[in-house]
Amino acid sequence: MIEIRQLSKSYAGKSALRNIDLCLPQGEIVGLFGENGAGKTTLMKCILNFLPHRGEILLDGESITSKNIARLSFATSEHSFFPNLTAQAHRDFYASHFPRFLDRRFQGLMEFFELPMHKALHGFSTGQKNQFEVILALSQGADYILMDEPFAGNDIFNREDFYKVLLGILEPNETILLSTHLIEEVSGFIGRALLLRHGSLVGDVSMAQLEETGQDLVGYIKQTWQYRPDRVGRALDELSGKEE
């Protein structure tokens, strides 16, 4: 379980995360939602210890260090692979550094997405790069897979394929924390939704809870964010110079 206690992070005095308290048990698929700049990426980077922060982040009761960091993997839209290396070279690199590397899963996903093994990554299309980034994160053998807008730039068919594959291959011990703006698309396969706004955790709800209340995820998010549907209309009126 990942436990986050009173996590705060600020950049040059500007608060990016405020007193986040959160638990991520094993075996969940969790969606992380929020507007741009809400703190989704910062939260993930703090969990991975990439950023100095205040508060505590524990993995099964221990701080996250080089001893247990291999239990976390990360797929980011910024990409964390080596552009000059081939997929094969990445496979070798991961296999030699991560003892629990899942070679069969890697091979299977590479074949499924028809990605070339012997071509340098810089020659891949954006969609292929995203796919490969996620393949690496899923194949590392991590218990917690953090994905930061991994499908940015992929077409809808591609994304749907991925969601299906994801649901099919995940082991019960694997947890996914998925940050995305594609709320409707992922609402069918996440089990829990976290909502960040201006660095604060403003919503934490399970899909089962939403089902009980008969509310859909988009509705819940709009309600939690106090979204004003008339905002666009009013803005357009003002811009086009209409007077009441």
């Binding site: 991975l48 210890n49 990439f50 080089s66 291999a70 990360f74 692979f81 080596f82 552009p83 550094h97």
Partner: protein
């Protein structure tokens, strides 16, 4: 360990090593050529120890003449190797920034169970190269000092030459 295996483990994955080889090979040659300045200064000073006897047609060692100090003749002949070693600091920075170019492979390197992996890959080759530069400078220092001591007539040598290199006054 074979050279290719060493390089694959001690350099950033996929990094182009050609710039470093180019700087090392060209810088090494230029530094060595520049160090030859000592030989020219030494040969000039050495020839001034002698006068030419027109009668016998031989060179004759002048009386009471003293060879300039080794450190004076050496001057900054080994400076090139020092500069080359300093340039390697730039390569360390280049290798670290490499992990932020084109992608953010720094995120992968910082997630590795071996927390020294990133530093080993960014620092090993530049540090090894810097060490080679310093070793080359030390070897040339010994060689030139040997030439100075062996080729200079003993009567023209001021004592304490070796100590003078390190700034120790006898």
């Amino acid at each position: 360990m074979r050279k290719s295996e060493f390089l694959s483990r001690h350099t950033p994955p996929g990094a182009d090593l050609h710039p470093q080889w180019r700087v090392l090979s060209m810088g090494g040659v230029v530094s060595w050529l520049y160090s030859l300045g000592f030989i020219f200064r030494f040969a000039d000073a050495w020839s001034q120890l002698y006068s030419y006897d027109r009668v016998s047609g031989k060179r004759v060692l002048q009386e009471g003449v003293i060879m300039p100090d080794f450190i004076q003749l050496l001057d900054n002949a080994l400076l090139g190797f020092g500069l080359l070693a300093i340039v390697m600091i730039g390569f360390c920075i280049f290798y670290y920034t490499y992990h932020r170019q084109g992608s953010r492979s720094i995120y992968l390197m910082r997630r590795l169970p071996d927390r020294w992996e990133l530093h080993r890959r960014c620092l090993s080759l530049p540090l090894l190269t810097a060490t080679l530069c310093i070793a080359a400078a030390a070897l040339l220092l010994l060689l030139y000092y040997g030439i100075y001591c062996l080729a200079t007539p003993e009567s023209c040598l001021r004592p304490g030459q070796w100590q003078m290199i390190w700034g120790i006054r006898s």
